[in-house]
Point group: C2
């Protein structure tokens, strides 16, 4: 007997018939003798609908109230799945974030899970019940509902798996695994059978939509094996034979490519501050207020100062935060000191990822050369031990991805 | 300074624009210097939508999970109204049932409020905040969300008003008051400026949709003056000058009609048990299991036994409970002992109501005569000190209502 956490995203629970399909997946594992906790997202479109209502109510709004409204989506799904499981003769009950409780910090709208009291859940599993946990939500220290930010249901699932010391956390989604890049852009993209936590972490944070960054990070820290699977595969005949992608420790993967995947993100925006004073402390004055406003700043480029007094500073933020970023910086204009402020959403961030980079030189140079040959200008660069990211004009994104996928030998025809 | 509870139903909060209109009503009272708690329903159609999802999931379902799903509706409205109030510069916060907390019993799906801990709400009002309370919901002793049954937001409002010792509870709805009968059936129906708790209680329980029975009962017990008002009247210029209906103590009403209103209900169903043993204890065996299943039985008629051994028993239940009622009685067939079981929804219950009946004889006889003159057959009768109800064929309901409205001198042209 194993203890499993199964997570189903919005498209997998888009309507009652699909939730019934999810229940069949759950039944398969229950009948195999496993203890099962299920984490569910809101029905596809529901979160967008609720966010739309909040924005219609007021463009700027209290994030406590935002959380109160949008958490309703997962609440509905959890109840419906529990009802369908019961109807199949499988004991089940729903658990809302505050009922578990899943405790978060007070960063409403993008909260982090601090602690899960798993006693009640364990007792429920011990009684033979399937625990259906509403994803994406918890309760903050102020006693109010907090949501984990978009995609947070993956994080809920891994956190529940860690708290329950589950043997595996299966993330069911609308694709059958993690691919070398987006197959809609590169038809030759291949499914990756096994990938390390670190590579998956980079992929997730660099734009691959299949798993949420924080969830991979949590899985790595707690050593929870993550499996990405398709919820649209036949639920009864499935089981462990399906293809999918296992996210696990690097040591469990025998053969490594230098570059294992290409990620891209079009939901970033570029912000440029012109003529900022080139002296110590200016970065703190720029990024301090943004951090205080819970805005994640990504790539940062500071040009070399021509006269040693003023410089330009460019960085990226999530496109959805661009307006707020510009507001925050405009408010702090006198304190920061700059001549002009510009924002643009017409950029894409492309990244090559692979643990093999650690032991191979010249990987980045090969990337820059390939892009240059296609006439693609690089606006910013950032690197880590296992990835290289570049910011380019959004119009060239698809061309660049196809070029790099081929250059690094990832195309199916070349390797299969 | 007064302390007010304002309650807004589903049509008053049907979309964000209407919720903005609700916020203007609230602002008027805040600007008049009052402390205000607002109780809101789900946006029109939402509860039906959620109930539809639950039924699609499984026709027979766990009421705990039902509560979990449908409570999401009021949750959304409470957050949206708080956001809009804040956007108008009025401090506000939402309160879910479990946050107040509003404690209920464990009759999930149709729970009763047992207690409201009002300390946190009082503190919130004391800080100058508008408390926006999600109606229709509370938390049961099992730690799970419980809903009060359809229309329960009125009850929430009165219970909150009683707990806060509010000066008045204003129920805003899509009509401008309580009428002598449904104006869609009788265009000559008139608005009643003042009505006693007792009459309102009978009207609500006998089918008038404007207020929920339990809410009137609670208002009467706790002496909370209830005012029914239209949320579609202009919010800024309104205030105490509007027409409406005040539900108050009988002693505050100077002039009483013998019959003050005609109520009707088409959502009842008739159940008949044929050849039940005519001996002590049989009624307990019939109605015990129904009470255990939380089914409210209304009019009960037991025919005179011809041979002293067997009799027929007829009673009414809410039409929505008919299937469940027949199931319960079929299961208990051996225990009860009957030859056949029949159910029909083609009935209507008509009632005449008035505290004046206490001191006037012949009111019921006048009703029976008027119906007989129109050839309308009476299938069952039940009476109380201040009302007479009859069950008739649903096809004759409109004719009967118009006839009685005229017979008891309620038509506008005769009295205005």
């Amino acid at each position: 007997m194993a203890r499993l956490v199964m997570k189903f995203g919005g498209t997998s629970v888009a309507d009652v018939e699909r939730i019934r399909n999810v229940a069949r997946h759950v039944r398969r594992e229950v009948q195999a003798g496993h203890q099962v906790a299920v984490v569910v997202s809101a029905m596809a479109g529901q979160t967008d609908h609720l966010v739309g209502l909040v924005r219609e109510a007021a463009a700027r709004h209290d994030l406590c109230e935002y959380d109160n409204v949008v958490a309703a989506g997962e609440q509905v799904t959890s109840g419906l799945l529990a009802i369908i499981l019961q109807d199949m003769g499988i004991p089940a009950r729903s658990w809302l974030g505050w009922q578990v409780p899943i405790r978060t910090n007070e960063a409403h709208g993008a909260a982090r899970i601090m602690d899960i009291e798993s006693d009640a859940l364990r007792e429920s599993l011990g009684r033979g019940e399937v625990a259906v946990v509403a994803g994406f939500q918890g309760i903050a220290g102020d006693g109010r509902i907090a949501t984990l930010g978009r995609g947070g249901s993956d994080t809920s699932a891994v956190a529940v798996a860690a708290a329950l010391k589950a043997d595996r956390c299966d993330i069911y989604t609308d694709v059958d695994g993690v691919y070398t890049t987006d197959p809609r852009i590169v038809p030759k993209a291949r499914r990756i059978p096994k990938i390390s936590y670190e590579e998956m972490l980079e992929m997730a944070s660099l734009g691959a939509k299949v798993l949420q960054t924080r969830s991979v990070e949590l899985a790595m820290v707690h050593g929870v094996p993550l499996q990405v699977r398709s919820s649209f595969a036949p639920p009864e005949t499935g089981g462990d034979d399906w293809p999918g992608t296992l996210v696990c420790d690097e040591s469990e993967i025998m053969e490594q490519q230098v570059v294992s995947s290409i990620a891209y993100a079009k939901d970033e925006a570029k912000v440029t501050l012109l003529n900022v004073a080139d002296k110590p402390g200016v970065a703190a004055r720029v990024f301090g207020p943004l951090a205080a406003a819970n805005i994640n700043v990504d790539m940062i480029v500071q040009n070399v100062s021509e006269d040693g007094r003023y410089t330009d500073m460019t960085f990226t933020v999530p496109a959805g935060d661009l307006r707020r970023t510009l507001d925050v910086l405009a408010t702090a204009k006198d304190e920061i000191g700059y001549s002009d402020l510009r924002g643009s959403e017409d950029v894409a961030k492309l990244s090559i990822i692979g643990v093999g980079m650690r032991s191979h030189a010249g990987v980045a140079a090969q990337m820059f050369r390939a892009l240059a040959e296609k006439g693609i200008n690089i606006e910013a660069i950032s690197t880590s031990e296992i990835k290289v990211s570049v910011l380019i004009d959004a119009d060239y994104a698809e061309l660049a991805i196809r070029t790099l996928h081929s250059v690094y030998g990832l195309d199916a025809t070349e390797t299969a």
